[in-house]
Symmetry: C2
Subunit: 492 residues, 2 copies
């Protein structure tokens, strides 16, 4: 694979000098087109340590308008990064639409290094590569084309260059201990990198291998390839927008309606409720205190029809939690910064730290519920969301975040009773909006979408828990118990 | 001062039970009014360790709608916090308009604790209190009313309660080593806290001392006082909006025009320029590499008329910097999240980490330049900005951030020449907008505002450097040299 990048490609000074002004103004031009587009491209500069990645990055930033592009290098994670899933630090630096980011070090670094040093096996390595493919495809769909360069030099040349750099006072500061340690493993890095490139060179994000022996050839090739890549991304985005299906197709009724199968007639008498609730709350209180001191964090997701009792149930949970450690997020329209990033960015940006709890009153599942039904998301977008959400929750799980998802189920008749109650009780009126009445008319569609969601996003690690909520008291006790049960399992 | 909070105030159970429902719905009502307003209040719960601050915080969050309020406690700073000025962590948690935050621990904690343990002297302590007064006044003006509670119990009662808590399995987890260490110093904390309260009980943000012996009395008093405080803040905000002066008064010509005093006729021949630039860049490159490895960070601010050459000068600086360590920020309209916070929030949010450089192409000085001239900021707002900016830069300096501010000066005739050049050169046309021509008509007003700005915000630590930029080459060399000079002074 790297053979074509070991032929000594070079660019003579005269050609370089002649081509450069045109290339630079072409770079600026495409950057302006990006600024006006809905895209926020990411450029990855990869290669073994010491191959010249930093120099390429510097050249790109020098040639472009620095106000529209940011460089990010990833050293040791900060404590704030350590307390979140591994990909958090990458989500943090995704550029908003109209801007670009150049990454030195990326989601490839850890798997490749870990594989070379034997810290992960072949199976885990391939799983990481699969994760990367999914991640980059998602980014491409979300307006973040990923353009990837792998700088390569043949071994003899690499070693010569390193020796030279160590003697050059202008360059030696770049040669870290890490570089020297990795340089010794050149022969191990080569096959592992080759495999990484092979497994992740996809239609949406192909690798560009660039021979990095001659600086002029290297920089010129990277820049021209970048321009071409950005132009293609702009064209594709234009074509996708033109072909976007705006029509909403309401979902078919599910073959198995798991929600309707729930027995909504169950009730719990008041006295029994008070006793059970108090006992469950006391237990939960103890467990949550254990959680605060643990390596875990917790996310609770609440979905269900309007007036299903999400808010009241959440209050019964937070009543026994310490305010310093929990927050309740009510998900509505995104801010403009959120809208300028991939869909899940707003949820990634405030993942709880270790020991903390975040409770979602509606959540990322909005994409496959309201956004699907109301046509806010294109069909392709909500369809791919199932897999993306599963992946998101899998990463949370790997990072020690306990995820519980509750669907509070009520009948349409009960919803009507609660709406009418809200309408006639002065201090409840603010809870009822015209939109609630509008949503109610689409009950069947929402229910069918919910059944699809439950089927496709119930995983071992983050299963949906369906709660009959016709009787509020019953629902509260069930939720309290479910959270305690899971916590007690995870914390021992 | 605390005597009135040592009288054993209590609330009997019957009254409490009778008052509670009304109080809670009143709390929810005022929270809804806040959500609809332009305010983002902050509630501080202070008092010695173990006095019940956490309990009050929990009660408030239980009684309010948790979706509109967040609790924040400040433990040891994270590494990301340690690399920025001390107030960074507080700026991070300021709520956006419409939301609220309850803080346990605040900007009061460090000065009080440091004073008690003798780590700062009386003078530094009073300076910190002055800083707090300014900070809270600024917040109030910016739509963030600060409502402050100080919980107090008499010593005998305090010690009794601590003994009891240590035996109670439900409470003992709250009693940290820190609490016990501080509890021994009750007598030292008392006078220091009293002084803090006295020095920071201002009209805009008075302290409310609450006797915390009886839990019912404590929670009821805090909640009713909070409702009253929020109502007052809402009224004041309404009155301020009504009375806001919208008329723009263009500044008088300055008595001493420091900008016109510059000799703009100086020039530097091309050959000499190349030699000097290369030498300056080599020196700067070395110094910036030293900066990367140091405890310092650096912020460079560029202001000046349109077409003064800011972009080109910045490119000569970044040419010798490593892309991983610098970023260039071009300041234009704020995002909606930025607009929902106090003015300086957008600059606080991305302060450079240690070793890093941020270069501003226009900056926070927009408030006293374009916002003043165009009437985007009310008169009171831009007038108080001078002091707020000086304070901001002082805090940067204390945290080891090197701040340099450049004013690039050109004549109106030179600007016209450059505009015309942009108009007729195809690849420069995008740089020239209709707004540039519009701004040009207000040249004198901008210049007078700039003179005011230079006069009021040139501090020892972050002086304005006025650069004759009629000759671009001269300007670039001067800026390169000034940055190197300052770096070399700070890094040795």
């Amino acid at each position: 694979m790297f053979e074509a990048a070991e032929v000594g490609s070079a660019l003579d000074k005269a050609t370089y000098k002649q081509e450069l002004p045109g290339l630079r103004s072409e770079l600026l031009r495409v950057q302006r087109d990006i600024a006006a587009s809905g895209l926020g491209p990411v450029v990855i500069v990869g290669g073994v340590e010491g191959v010249g990645k930093g120099e390429v990055m510097n050249t790109l930033l020098e040639w472009m308008d620095a106000r529209g592009v940011e460089a990010h290098a990833f050293g040791d994670p900060t404590t704030e990064e350590q307390e979140r899933p591994r990909y958090w630090r990458f989500w943090r630096v995704l550029p908003p639409r109209g801007k670009m980011a150049v990454l030195l070090g990326s989601w490839y670094t850890d798997p490749i290094v870990d594989r070379v040093f034997g810290r992960i096996d072949e199976v885990s390595y391939e799983r990481e590569m699969r994760r990367i493919r999914d991640f980059e495809r998602m980014l491409a769909f979300e307006g973040v084309p990923v353009i990837k360069f792998w700088l390569h030099v043949a071994k003899a040349e690499y070693e010569k260059r390193l020796r030279k750099a160590r003697k050059d006072p202008e360059k030696q500061w770049r040669i870290s201990k890490r570089t020297l340690k990795f340089a010794k493993r050149y022969d191990d890095f080569r096959p592992v990198s080759e495999e990484a490139l092979r497994l992740t060179s996809t239609g949406v994000a192909p690798w560009h291998i660039v021979e990095a022996q001659d600086e002029r050839y290297r920089d010129y090739t990277v820049a021209t390839t970048l321009v071409r890549g950005l132009r293609e991304a702009l064209e594709e985005a234009g074509a996708r927008r033109a072909g976007e299906e705006q029509q909403v197709v309401l979902p078919d009724p599910p073959t198995v309606n798991v929600i309707r199968q729930l027995d909504l007639t169950q009730q719990i008498p008041r006295k029994e409720y008070v006793r059970k609730r108090n006992r469950s709350q006391a237990r939960l209180g103890r467990l949550v205190r254990e959680l605060h001191a643990s390596e875990h964090s917790m996310i609770l997701v609440f979905e269900g029809p309007d007036a299903a009792g999400k808010g009241g149930t959440i209050r019964r949970l937070t009543a026994v939690m310490d305010a310093r450690f929990y927050r309740v997020r009510s998900v509505s329209a995104p801010t403009d910064e959120e809208a300028a990033h991939p869909y899940l960015w707003r949820f990634w940006r405030d993942l709880p730290r270790r020991g903390h709890v975040t409770i979602y009153d509606r959540s990322w599942y909005g994409r496959v519920l309201v956004e699907r039904i109301e046509g806010f998301a294109a069909r392709d977008d909500w369809q791919r969301a199932y897999a993306e959400i599963n992946e998101f929750e899998a990463q949370l799980g790997e990072a020690g975040t306990i995820v519980l998802k509750f669907w509070l189920a009520i009948s349409p008749e009960e919803q009507l009773r609660r709406f009418e109650d809200r309408e006639t009780t002065p201090y409840k009126q603010y809870k009822l909006t015209r939109e609630d009445w509008r949503n109610r008319k689409k009950w069947d569609a929402y229910e069918a979408a919910a059944c699809d969601m439950i089927e496709r996003t119930s995983t071992d690690q983050a299963p949906w828990i369906l709660v009959p909520a016709e009787d509020k008291r019953l629902a509260r006790v069930e939720v309290l118990r479910a959270v305690s049960k899971r916590l007690s399992r995870e914390l021992t």
